[in-house]
Amino acid sequence: MRKRIDSGHGLMLFELLIAIGFFAVFATIILRLFISAQQISLQSNNLSRAIMAAENAAECVKAGTEPAVFYNEDWVPSEQNESAYRLTLETVPEEGVSTTIITVKDKADTEIFSLTVKTLQEAGA
């Protein structure tokens, strides 16, 4: 018994196991943080791109031209079958003012960003 307690290897093994245990606990927490940070970064990037796409569409609406509606994974205007993001434009006609609600959605139909544009209508238009 006395010999076992004095054994340097047994103590080292025990110390290592404790160290690995602590490491495993903290590594789990840190990895979860890393992954959530990456997801937030991706969401932030997507939101930033969605805002730019919606602003571009708003400018086209103001100018009375057709905006790009479908965007691929890299937020480049694309065809409908290659699209990963799409814009929906809903126009609500009011007296003197035309309101257009531009919504940017992803493939899963989840709303990323929405923008309301009000355009003054010329008299008689």
Partner: protein
Amino acid sequence: MKRKKTHIDTILVLILLCVFSASVLMTLLLGTHIYSSMSDSSRLTYNERTCMSYIAEKFRHNDVKDSVYVGEFDGLNALFLDTEEKGVVYCDIIYCYDGWIWELYCERGLDFLRTDGTKVIEAKSVSFRDLGSGLFYVEATDLDGKTSKLNICLRSGG
């Protein structure tokens, strides 16, 4: 027998040490990879948004009828923004040359070279197009080759 047990203990400790070291290394590498990808993404977004915001603000600031137009400056596609001060018309010229967006503020009609301007933001290329009806189209490519597009509709009608 005792000697054999000591050997097994030593090997076990060494294996555990190796597993521990490998786990630490993997966590560090994963962390570095995630950090660098986030940092790259943030830098790209910053470059892109800063460049586009700067140009958009220039348009908005000079949103006066017939004072914004696209033309050629020293052989380069450029955006011209005219302003009148005390009867003299000055022109703010924005163009891209040698990996930078340059800006030159000068009296209209005077001849200047592309190198006379001031460097503003790094960019690979920028092109301006007047689409009519007061709508302008700007396409900028940053140094990483990423292209961003901007539509600007002037309230004044261009």
